[in-house]
């Protein structure tokens, strides 16, 4: 597989805060790659370095074989970039926005219409509406069309689904997967853990570091401990009881369930249920559970925290 993005020893500082703490990785050509992490994890700084908008303090990066510092002009010609806030002109219409971004890259909408037909087609009925009057989902589609209109060699999307409702988010990921199927390399960042499953590979980020990087399935498979999900009539009391349970390693709320990790030796029927019954919780349902990305993220976070504490 050819390499689309290579990053080495990458460091970025803002004053005394380390926004990127020595990143090293490569992304293959044609991958749909997700950077997943909360605000302040360093996703935006990384993307701004890859799009030549920021200078790294140490290390470097190459996009499609071109150095993001030295080959500034060439890199800017081949990337399609969608910054964190949809940077559309609110006082221009849908059509005007798209043709403006086409002219900026020295092309026309007609020339590359084929590329955006799938996505732009959905908002074309509203082409004379001002961008500022569009719904969040439509803005997102327009911004994506604008980033695609010059036939970029790589697409870099910074939190395209933040603040967009669940339905629009799903549709957006469907579009990204179709673009990937056509061979485009796509880098996406998101704070939503559940979107990881839509990517070929993901990097879980926190505090400027990559906690783990692999395919979503491989990350889930690497979860080191048995994981149980539990449910009871009184979830609040169950949660309190599990936090006091001596064998508990971690207990987290997970939608309608609680997710529990415990030491290797713990056998639910023998150890856990009697304990809970003694607490007056006799309607508890326990089942083994396949870890998701969010479980892994939290596990990696606590491992990382422990390492960090140990180093100190």
């Amino acid at each position: 597989m050819k390499t689309a993005v290579r990053v080495w020893e990458l460091e970025k500082r803002y004053g005394s805060t380390l926004a990127l703490d020595g990143l090293d990785f490569s992304i293959g050509s044609g991958e749909l790659f997700g950077f997943i992490g909360p605000d302040g994890a360093g996703k935006t700084s990384l993307f701004r370095i890859l799009t030549t908008l920021l200078l790294p303090d140490r290390g470097g990066a190459a996009v499609l074989g071109m150095d993001v510092v030295r080959d500034l002009r060439e890199v800017r010609k081949v990337i399609g970039y969608m910054p964190g806030r949809f940077s559309l002109y609110q006082d221009l219409s849908v059509k005007e926005n798209l043709s403006f971004f086409a002219t900026v890259f020295g092309t026309t909408v007609a020339e590359n219409y084929e590329l955006v037909r799938d996505i732009y087609g959905q908002i074309e009925p509203y082409r004379d509406r001002l961008a500022g009057k569009l719904s969040g989902g439509m803005k997102q589609k327009l911004a994506l069309s604008c980033a695609l209109i010059h036939r970029p060699g790589i697409l870099i999307l910074d939190e395209p689904t933040t603040g967009v409702d669940a339905v629009s988010r799903r549709e957006f990921w469907d579009m990204l997967q179709r673009l990937r199927d056509e061979g485009l390399t796509i880098l996406v960042s998101t704070p939503y853990m559940d979107e990881a499953s839509r990517c070929d590979r993901v990097a879980l980020m926190q505090s400027g570091r990559i906690l783990g990087m692999d395919s979503p399935a491989a990350i889930a498979a690497s979860f080191p401990k048995p994981l149980y999900k539990l449910r009871a009539g009184d979830m609040y009391r169950l949660y309190g009881a599990l936090r006091e349970f001596p064998a508990t390693a971690s207990v987290y709320r997970f939608g309608q369930d609680l997710h529990l990790t415990a030491g290797q030796g713990m056998i639910p029927d023998q150890d856990l249920l009697p304990y809970l019954q003694a607490q007056g919780l006799d309607d508890v349902v326990v089942a083994p559970c396949t870890p998701g990305i969010e479980d892994c993220f939290m596990e990696l976070l606590s491992e990382n925290q422990n390492q960090h504490d140990a180093r100190r």
């Binding site: 994890a41 603040g163 409702d165 669940a166 339905v167 559940d194």
Partner: protein, 253 residues
């Protein structure tokens, strides 16, 4: 006093809010009881923010009756504001003031006495394990801590209700859950929690959930009821099923 059930801390009857010809809230009806965690969901532009602004006394309803903590928001918004706490996505802490200075400022707004402020400040710092950071500037704190502090300040004056507008946007999953621990603590003390979120797993943590679509309430009930009614495995599916129905209409506006 308050008509209807004494336990209902929020009573909304036939609430309509129009902006020109646009109907942001179309005959809303719901009640929230004391100590409940009430989730308020909806796509962008579904009318959530408009409704919350009305409940907080920041905006007048076009018609309908809205009682919050027994007071009419249309005629006595000042009374309403005394009995509520509010925390928005961009939590309103002063970045250039220290933790204690922020606490003192908010307590001052609600007219708490110095002795009470001292006592509650100490308790709050202890609970959040922020004693060591008492004199640090807010700008130097991590996002998660700011968020917890902002919430604690929103309930510092022990309001009857606290409104949380997407309080957990963009924070890591562990902090998000710690935040919900705080919400449960508040609810167990009898504070009613009215919360909006884009995370569907958080909808499951609510006692009851209200889903708005195009200015109307499309579904209202406990997560279990809604899942059963819609034949859905989780709240995400409930939401998608309800919102998908609405899409052709939204796009026609």
């Amino acid at each position: 006093m308050m008509p209807g059930d004494k336990r209902d801390i929020i009573v909304v009857e036939d609430l309509v809010k129009r902006f020109g010809s646009f109907v942001a809230n179309d005959h809303l009806n719901f009640r929230v009881s004391r100590g409940e965690i009430f989730g308020f969901l909806g796509a962008n532009g579904a009318g959530k923010t408009t409704a919350i602004r009305i409940l907080c006394g920041l905006s007048k309803p076009t018609s309908g009756k809205v009682l919050v903590a027994g007071q009419d928001v249309g005629t006595r918004p000042e009374k309403v504001k005394r009995s509520i706490g509010y925390m928005s996505q961009r939590f309103s802490l002063y970045e250039d003031l220290t933790v204690t200075e922020n606490i003192r400022f908010y307590a001052g707004i609600y007219g708490l006495g110095p002795a009470l402020i001292r006592e509650r400040t100490a308790a709050l710092l202890h609970r959040l394990e922020l004693e060591h950071a008492a004199d640090k500037l807010i700008s130097s704190l991590p996002l998660g801590w700011k968020q917890k502090l902002a919430f604690s300040l929103a309930i510092f004056h022990e309001p009857a209700i606290v409104f949380l507008d997407e309080p957990t946007g963009g924070v890591d999953p562990v902090t998000r859950r710690q935040f919900w621990d705080l919400i449960y603590d508040a609810a167990s003390k009898g504070i009613t929690v009215f919360v909006t979120t884009h995370y569907m797993d958080e909808a499951e943590y609510c006692d009851r959930v209200c889903i708005m679509v195009d200015g109307r309430i499309e579904a209202l009930g406990s997560p279990e009821e809604l899942k059963a009614r819609m034949g859905a495995a989780d709240m995400d599916e409930v939401f998608v099923k309800l919102a998908r129905k609405a899409i052709p209409r939204t796009e026609q506006v």
